[in-house]
Every structure is written in structure tokens, then in C-alpha cells.
Amino acid sequence: MSKQVALLQGNEACALGAIYAGCDFFGGYPITPSTEVAEEMALMLPRSGGKFIQMEDEIAGIGTVLGAAAAGAKAMTATSGPGFSLMMELLGYGCMAELPCVIVNVQRGGPSTGLPTKGAQADMLQARWGTHGDHQAIALCPSSIEECFTQTVKCFNLAERFRMPVLLMMDEFIGHMREKMTIPQPGELETYTHPRPKIKPAEYRHFGEGTGVGGAYAAMGSGYRFNITGLTHDPKGFPTNRADETKWKMDRLRAKVADHLPELTEVEREFMDDAEIVIFSYGAAARTAQQAVREARAQGVKAGLLRPTVVWPFPDQVVTEALRQARAMVVAELNQGQMILEVERANRTHTRVLPALRYDGEMITPAEVMNVIAEAAR
């Protein structure tokens, strides 16, 4: 079979990636600029026996996704700013109840209704801190159409393995852009499905093994009758407010991400070997940064690029190392300064950190980044 090369929109590639990963449930509410994800899923899911449902609002969208996940589905929803805000409570529920699912946020300008048809990267900290309570987040950020596909697959793999909602932080620029890509053949990309328990139902504890990462867990209706609750619970899933059991649960939620940082860290490096000015950028803005790095090199500036594809957990160590090596770091992002706060937190060497920001709904240009590089090189 010859490889299929197709011109795809980011949103379409995301939906195709979901199907490739084995997604069999989509619940959501239409919102610009994420709508094409839902439309594509509505078309494709029933063909493979999966289920698509358009709910009455975004809260119901993620609610039905979490319900399907409890029943064993590989489930997904897709939304944008206002809908993402509505989903926050249940994002926390998914973390607490350890339900795997993928939430796609095609970011647009905000706050409030903001710029529905224009792009931004201004939900980056909401993705990390939007829901109440201590919790961890795993979030990926694609910079190309191909990555919309491959990272959606990876999101499902991580959700299944880490038993938690995983966020794909797209943006309108990437979501509505088209590029050609070679559709991966079945088996070409890894697809992970969590193991199902084999022990006797009487011995089964739904939240029993260590941090739960990579472990077996059961679906409702599979003969293991367990309880799931958003209340703090013991290993059996029964509500508790005992301090020791609460601490056990909170430590488990923390450790499942904190103890697996090397596995979760994924940063692409370009021209980093001798880089003196390092640009930190992700998602759509990183495309501009890629161009700027090359233009800077052409002008004799030793510039390099750090492009995290997994933005949460933040690649702390990588950034700390890069800051140690660099004379200055330029953070290029499409907001008023969000991930730059994390970069500054990782800055243990008091290296200069300069923002290259744009937040008017338009894409930051290579010239704008070059100006900041020039300032950094001074």
C-alpha cells in the first residue's frame, strides 16, 4: 500500500490522529475555532463503531467523556477558550478520579468571547492551574499539522498510561492551517492501551498499585465493581477525610507526574550546540522562532531554539541547563507573558530573559523576534 500524502487542516489531523489512536468516543459542544475536530469525529467515529455526541454545553461535553472513560472508552472532547473555562471543574474531576481522556483546546484570543476566529496561546497557565485544588497536568503543544496528528496519538497514549486527562493545547493558527503530511500506516506509531486487571474482583482495588502509572485498571461493566468519586478517596475508591488517606491520595496524584519527568520531558533543540541566544517557543509561535533562528544565524548571531512539545510538566531541567549555557533567552509566545514565568522560575543563573510577545490575534513575525534577539545580543 502506497503512503497517503494529504493536505490537511490542523483540526482534521487531530481528529485523524484520534481515530488512529483508537478513540471510540467523542462528546463536545461546537465552538470556533475547534469545530472541525467535532465535525470530523462525527463523520468518522460511527464508521468504526464509535460514538459521537453533541452535548448541550461544554460541561456536559467533558462530563459525558469522563462517563464514557469510566465505562472503558478512549474518549476525547475538543473546545476553545470559553468552553475550556467551562470544563475546568470536571478537568479536576478527571484528575481526582483518574479517568483517562484527551481534551483538545484550540486556543483563540480572550478573555471572554475575545477573538473567536483568531489565534492566541493565552490558555497555557489555565491548562496548568485552571481547576481548583492541587493537581498535575500533562499538556502537549503542536507546531505543525503532522504534530497535530502525532501528538494527538501521544496524548491518548499518555492518558491511558498516566490515567488522567491529557491536554492538547493547539491554537487557531495551527488548527485552521493546512500543510501536507504523510498519513502514518497502522502500526507505524505506537498506540498504547492500558492493561485490564486479571486478579479476582474481590481483590481488586481501583486505585491500588503505587502511582497507577502503567498499571492495570478496570472499566465499569467488566465484572469489577468499584466506586469512583470526586471526593478524596481511599485505594478502594471510597470517600475519606482522614488525613493519612488524604495525603496518600494527594501524593499519588503528584507522584504520577513528578516521578516520571524524564519520560514526560520532550524538547526539540535546533542549533543549540553553541547557542548564545536561546529562543524558547512552542506551538504556532515556534514556527516564527524557527525562521528567526535561521535568519539570526545567517547574520552571524549564535542563536538556538528550544521547542518543548510537552509543555506541562514544564521541562525545568532542560531550560535551567540552557539558561546556564546562554547569554540570554528570548521567550516568544502569543500572550502577554505566560510560559516566560516558568522560564524565569527555572532561571537559577540570573541569565537575562527577554519577552517576544504578540497578543493582537496576529502571528508574531520573524522580524519582531529578530528585534528582541538583537536586543539580547547587545
Binding site: 493536505l7 476566529t117 492551517m177 493546512r178 501536507k180 514556527r287 520573524p366
Partner: protein
Amino acid sequence: MSKRHEIRLSGSGGQGMITAGVILAEAAGVYDGQNVVQSQSYGPEARGGASKAEVIISDQEIHFTKATAIDILLAMTQEAWDKYSHDLKSDGVAVVDSFYVKEVDRPGVHKLPLAQMARQEVGIEMVANIIALGAIAGITKVVTRESLEKAVMSRIPKGTEDKNRQALEIGFRLAAGV
């Protein structure tokens, strides 16, 4: 062709500018084997308002995804010309609809009867975007005719093949007369 081509197709919502952009990108990317990035911007309205689609074609990897120095501009309305012609390069190629665009503030603009030909020869104005694609490809050779034809056929509704093939033919004919 070792060059980055930035192409902007502009008009009003409903004139098929985004469809035209997708077809052009598919012709260049999938059938001609170039690297390609296609994007668009539009207002909240489904019909009316200024609308543009941009296609960047290059034999190199495309990093920056937006068009900022336009090599090829299509304007199907006066509003689109007024709004989107400012960053057309001095040696850029401009094609405008001669019926809807009356005032152009620079020399060398190709004024072609795109909408008129669509109405008179094909019978529906809707295919003016395909005529425009034919004209642009004919004038600039930014994509091959075979690839453009394949891309048109893969992206249009079933049952409209003849009308679109005719429209493409008209476009290339107009280009030959330039």
C-alpha cells in the same frame, strides 16, 4: 523554482477564496511535491465581509506560516483590494476582477473579467474562483496545470466536474491573452 512564493487570494465571504486556497495548496503540495502552508482569515460572517486565503509554496521547509510580502495577489472585490494589496511586492503579480475592482493604485495589474466569464460562459458566478486559479496558474506557473486540475477535481462537489473543468479552461485562456 528555488523560492518562497507567497500568494494571497482575497474577496468577500462566499466567493470561494478559502476553497481556492485549499485547491492551490493541494495542487502545489500533494501533486507538485512542493512544501506548502495554507491559512486564512475571515470575519464572523459566513457570507460577505472581506475574506482571504494565503498559500505559501516553497521547495524549502516552510517555517514562518504567514504571508507578509506578497508575490501573487488575487482581489475579487474592491474592498479586498483596498484591504489586502498594501504588502504586494513591487515586482508582485496582481490579478483583479475587472467587474468588481474599479480602482487600483498601481500599474501592471491584470484586470480580468473573472465573474463576467463565469456568468456568461459557465452560467454560474460561483466558479469565478476556479477561473481565477486557472488565470493565476497560467500567468505565474506557480503550479502545473495537471496538478491544478487534479486538485480541483478532488475538492469540488460531485456533479460539478464539467462546469469546473470549463472554468479552469477559461482561466488559462484568459492568462494566455495577458
